[in-house]
Symmetry: C2
Subunit: 156 residues, 2 copies
């Protein structure tokens, strides 16, 4: 992982469909070592995949909300069951296990406020073992970075 790798990551986060030739030109290499570096980054698990970015509103999901959940207990069964159910709900875009208290926070999208309410009350609320739910809406997006600020040196 050197400065060239970092530059490759930066460029590929900006445009993940660049041609290997274009990429190699941007990072100052010839195509074949450039391709090898990309393959190495993929094999090392640093690049985990590529994806098309899709406009959330244009796809009919104008509503974004955050849901915070506290479980009634943290037995293995409750936790596993909860996390498995969350993983299945495709309107839940991500979910974090929060430190300090047995709390989850997840980002949820919906086609309307009604749908959002339905989703929370009829799907999420019904998962066993939930002690409490808090919900908050996003009014708008101020910033949405499309990648990490990767650099060559990485202190553990």
């Amino acid at each position: 992982m050197d400065a060239t790798d970092a530059k490759i990551l930066k460029v590929l986060q900006r445009d993940g469909r660049l041609t290997n030739q274009e990429l190699s030109a941007e990072v100052g290499l010839s195509p074949s070592p450039c391709l090898r570096r990309v393959r190495n980054l993929e094999a090392a698990g640093i690049i985990t995949g590529y994806t098309a970015l899709v406009d959330q509103k244009l796809c009919g999901f104008p509503v974004t909300g955050f849901v915070r959940i506290r479980l009634a207990n943290h037995s293995d069964e409750t936790v596993r069951g909860f996390e498995a159910r969350i993983a299945e709900i495709e309107h839940v875009l991500d979910c974090y296990l929060m430190a300090g208290g047995e709390d989850y926070q997840m980002k949820v999208i919906a086609r309307s406020l009604d749908d959002y309410e339905q989703l929370v009350r009829k799907t999420i609320q019904k998962i066993p073992g939930i002690a409490s739910i808090e919900t908050s809406f996003a009014y708008g997006v101020v910033k949405h970075a499309r990648g990490l600020p990767v650099s060559a040196e990485m202190r553990p």
Copy 2:
């Protein structure tokens, strides 16, 4: 926007570097109409770009936190200044304007807890107009979807 477009979006969210031939095979088209549909989705702004997904931990950012901020007032100057500063901080991955109260919520990454504290206290805290800051750490990631559940019909 029909079922074929939806399938294209679904497949490209799963693997944004598929060859046009592979993509066309997966969606059941021949390459040339498939490419034209992709170009149309790009031109319509539905596909906003492509990106490489990078492993956050392997890149040296094991810490994820959420920061909630309340502004002291919502004059244009304060709001613009705040949002402009946030946009510059590359450790702030995203930031939402929350409904109900003048609140922002942002996701922040750091190389360590120390760095996180430094970032919050020395960079974010210093932005003018902040009334209060609340912070919470993520202990781990339960789910991280790589795309929206796009479908053909989209109710407004």
